[in-house]
Each structure stands twice: as structure tokens, then as C-alpha cells.
Symmetry: C2
Subunit: 309 residues, 2 copies
């Protein structure tokens, strides 16, 4: 069994249906939990309820990243913010989305969310560029330009490299005092009383490689995406249609299961999760089979599913 | 057992929670089915999904009547209209709501619902007056001024009186030809060949009395409502809180269970349905008990419940 890194990096699917919600699937929304900091990607209608149903920490959410301004990706936003107001939230809430949403969001907040005790901070995102839009001590979020029927971008969540682990056998052997170990962890060498320099690499073991998650929905087959998501640990790629509907997919700016598999394969990702299923499918089995024909390490998103990155 | 009238008049509860949705209750929404014509009252977030879950004819909806502009009563509206657009609706959709909603709704439709094949027709409602706002061959809808923390009104759905039934024994006895029976149904007398006039009342039996449904949410205790809902067959009255929270209820423009029962009793309604429960109650049993102490013929709303009026 693979050794699980200690720090958390997982994705919980709140909704993986496409435009028209059905009793089978909710519209798009996911929670990304990196080191217990929660971000929301997309916020279709009913997302706040899905967060509660899926037992996600509703109030702990810091940011929402909206891929594009189709209703099934953002109509749950005002309800979420409104509930935060009613529940007495005081922590600011950050919205990253296409600039066109801002005036409408503000008008809605004015009408539906009087006297909030927190700021809703809007960050305009340029869907056409691959840019760093968020950064904190443990993570970065980058935009991923996609090819859809309106300006649309995915998001790349990158864990920041952790500090190396101390090799206690070696630090003990060199008699390095405990009070100095943080400096070693931070990258310093050790200078012995006789002036000999012990290089940092001999005193530490590298931390687990930082992990990456790419969310790519909604998009037609988009090969320009491949270099941007090279080798990510988990790729969520939309598969609105099965392979027989490639033409329809292209016309509407969506992908088939085979195309999602092909992007995953060409980008050499570790694992693919498919989702954003058209309401015409009773279940995801056909889409999953077709994606696996191209990229075997594929799983199917479902409401409530949590995947470790 | 009471004889059920043949024509349909029933109410289906889609959501009966209050402001913050919980896994127990959806926000406010109800379907009123009068003679197989469907109207929606309020449209909280997730209403379109609830219509599907409750197997209501999603596309057949003609009108939505919005009581007031709190998010839990109208945030599902744009998603519903957006889905109609995607599903190729062509029948116009009528929205009855406070005028303040119109510019915001139009801005949202512009952004989220491009190129609809039907009109969304907005009808501004004055929440302060008791007025006829909708009428067709079989029903009328009247506003009911309520007392809430913002302009708010309920709705009174009145079935129009049906034509009387033909008394076949009498029409046969007088030798009235079948081709003339529709005129008798419409109220005409019958003139015998000898000039004798047979009054209409002798040839017909009165139809079942027209039925009425009153939806009253959200509101504080509001005695001015009583004469407007006198004797209705079914009253839906909000009971956000139990009797111990009367002060809190008044401050927030809501009612206790006892107050709802009192309004029902004073108005002499046939049956009371309570709902709009605060999220703080695990179930409605306490509220139901307190309402029944004042007005025994009370039922508790629940998602999916259909009540014959």
C-alpha cells in the first residue's frame, strides 16, 4: 500500500452533473482541502446544502473559485453567502471569478444579504491566461485556460514544497544541538567545531513531493492544456458525453470520455476523475469504460466522493 | 368518508424550512395544482431539483408567485428559468413578485439565460394590498398583506365556482333534448311547449362549493389577515418558532405555533398546515403539538407531502 502523506490534500465532490440538475446529480461544486484549509471550486445551485449533506465544514470555507458564468457553476453563490450572513460569519469570503460576475453579485448581495458582518472580496480572474491567482503558506492556485462556449478556465491547486525531514541519526552523530534543528530543516549546513562543513543534504531527508490537483470543467478537447497539467496527481476532467457524441460535444464546448482519457494520458497524470455528466446518462458506467480504454487509472466522480490527491 | 370533488385542487410541499437550508428541510416552495394547472409559490434554492424529486411536472408550470425577496423564497428562480431554456421550453413563464426583483432578474437572465425561446413576463405585485393579481377560467389568485421584516404578502388561491350538475331525472321528465342541456348547465330555464317556465334550479344540482387555499409565509402574528382568509379550506401558516420564542418571533417578523393556530381558529379555516420551521428544530413535533392545542385540525408540512384542498 502506498504511504499516505501526513498532511491532508483531498477533493470532495459535491456535484458532478451538467447543466440541468437531476435527482441523480447536483450541479458542479467541489471542496479542495489542503492542510485543512478549505476552498470551493464552482458553486452550482444547492451547493450549500450539499456541503451540509456531505458533512463538510460549511463555515470554514475561505475562497470560492468559479470556472465560468454558466448557471450550473455559480447559481448557488448568493444562497451560500446569505446563509453565512444569517449564521453570523465574520471571516472574509473571497470570490475568484470572471469580472462580469462582480456587478451582478454586488446587486444581489445588496438585495438579499443586508448588513453582513464580513467582506465579500471579489477577485477578477482572466480566463485566457495561465496565472497565479492565489497563494498562501501551503498552496498556490493557478488558472488553466479552457475551450468552452464562453470564457472559462480550470484551476490548478499546487501544494507548496514542505521542508525536508531531519535525519536524526546523522544530526545526533554530528552532535548538532536540538535548538539548531530548525535551521537545518530550513536548509542550512552545519559547521563542526573544527571548521568542517556538513552539507544540509547529509542531515535531512527530502519531504514528500508536493502534490497537484487540476480541475478542468467545462471544456472541449483542449490540447494546449497538456503542458500546464503535466504529471499532476489528480486531474478532474469533464466528460459530458460518450464517444459517439463527439460532434455534439465539440459544438457545445464539451468533451467525450475518450477525449478526457486522451488528455490524461498525454499529460501523464497519475489519476483521472471524470464528471460533469450529461443528464441523459442513467449512470457513469459507459463514460468510465470509455475513459479507461484510453487511460486505465480513471475513477468516476459521484456526490459525496472524497479522493486523496 | 367525505366525498372528494372530481376536479383536482391540491398543494405539494417542495420545501418548508426557514432561512438556512438543512439536510432536513429545503427552503420555501410549493406547487398548487388546480384542475391540472400548476402554479409555484416561492422558489427557494433547489426548487427545480425538488420538483423533479417530488415528481411534479417540471415543464408544465405556468406561473410563480413570490411572497417576498428573502433569498430562501426566491434564489431558485434563475436556475429554474435557465433549465427551462436548456430544455427547449416555448411556453411563456410568468413571475409575480415585488417590483424590486425585476431589474435584478433581468440582469441575471441576460447573463445566465441567453436566447430563451419563451418570454419571462414579470408582473409587479403590491405587497400592501389585497388585490386580484391572476385570473383564468378556473381560478383566481389574490394577494394577502402580511407583517414581515420586509414587504411581504401571502397568496389566496380561489377556485372559480363550477357549473351546476344536470339533474337527469328532471330533464328527462320534462323531455328536454340532450342538445339543450349545456344551456341548462349554463343557467337557462326551460320553456315547455305550453309556455310553462321550468326554473333552472329544478333542473340542476349545485356543484361542489369552490375551494380556497391561503399561503401565509413569512409573517408575524397578523390579525388583519383573518377577514381575508375566513373559512378557507386549507391555510398554510408559517410557524418558525415554538411558543417559548414569541418575542424572538415578533422581532424577526415570524410566528409561533400557537399564533398560527390562533389565526386558523379565528378565521374558522377547515384545516391548517404549519411550516417554515426554524433550523433549530430536529422535527416538527413540538410545533405541531402547540398549534393543535389551539387548532386541532392541523397538519405539519414536509417535503413531498401533497394535501388535497
Amino acid at each position: 500500500m502506498e504511504k499516505t502523506p501526513k498532511t491532508k490534500f483531498e477533493v470532495t465532490v459535491l456535484g458532478c452533473g451538467s447543466a440541468t440538475p437531476t435527482p441523480r446529480h447536483n450541479p458542479s461544486a467541489q471542496i479542495v482541502n489542503i492542510h485543512d484549509k478549505l476552498s470551493l471550486i464552482d458553486c452550482g445551485e444547492g451547493t450549500q446544502l450539499q456541503m451540509r449533506t456531505c458533512r463538510q465544514k460549511f463555515m470554514a470555507l475561505r475562497n470560492v473559485f468559479i470556472s465560468h458564468l454558466h448557471g450550473d457553476h455559480c447559481l448557488g453563490l448568493v444562497g451560500l453567502i446569505s446563509s453565512y450572513g444569517l449564521l453570523g460569519r465574520t471571516m472574509d469570503f473571497h470570490v475568484y471569478a470572471h469580472a462580469e460576475l462582480q456587478p451582478l453579485l454586488e446587486a444581489q448581495l445588496k438585495l438579499f444579504c443586508h448588513a453582513l458582518d464580513f467582506e465579500v472580496v471579489f477577485h477578477a480572474v482572466d480566463p485566457g491566461s495561465h496565472a497565479l491567482i492565489y497563494e498562501d503558506r501551503s498552496m498556490e492556485v493557478w488558472t488553466l485556460p479552457l475551450k468552452h462556449s464562453m470564457p472559462c478556465n480550470g484551476f490548478l491547486f499546487k501544494e507548496k514544497p514542505a521542508l525536508p525531514h531531519i535525519n536524526r541519526e546523522m544530526t545526533d552523530a554530528y552532535g548538532i544541538p536540538v535548538c539548531y534543528l530548525n535551521n537545518i530543516k530550513a536548509g542550512e549546513n552545519w559547521v563542526m567545531p573544527d571548521g568542517r562543513v556538513i552539507p544540509n543534504a547529509r542531515l535531512t531527508k527530502p519531504a514528500a513531493a508536493p502534490r497537484c490537483y487540476a480541475y478542468c470543467s467545462d471544456t472541449a478537447y483542449c490540447p494546449t492544456l497538456i503542458p500546464l497539467i503535466k504529471g499532476v496527481d489528480l486531474l478532474y476532467h469533464e466528460t459530458t458525453y460518450d464517444n459517439s457524441k463527439e460532434k455534439k460535444a465539440t459544438v457545445h464546448g464539451h468533451s467525450t470520455a475518450g477525449q478526457a482519457g486522451s488528455i490524461a494520458k498525454q499529460a501523464g497524470v497519475r489519476r483521472l476523475m471524470i464528471g460533469h455528466y450529461s443528464a441523459s446518462y442513467d449512470d457513469a458506467s459507459l463514460l468510465l469504460r470509455q475513459a479507461r480504454e484510453v487511460f486505465p487509472n480513471t475513477i468516476a466522480a459521484n456526490e459525496g466522493l472524497t479522493v486523496k490527491v
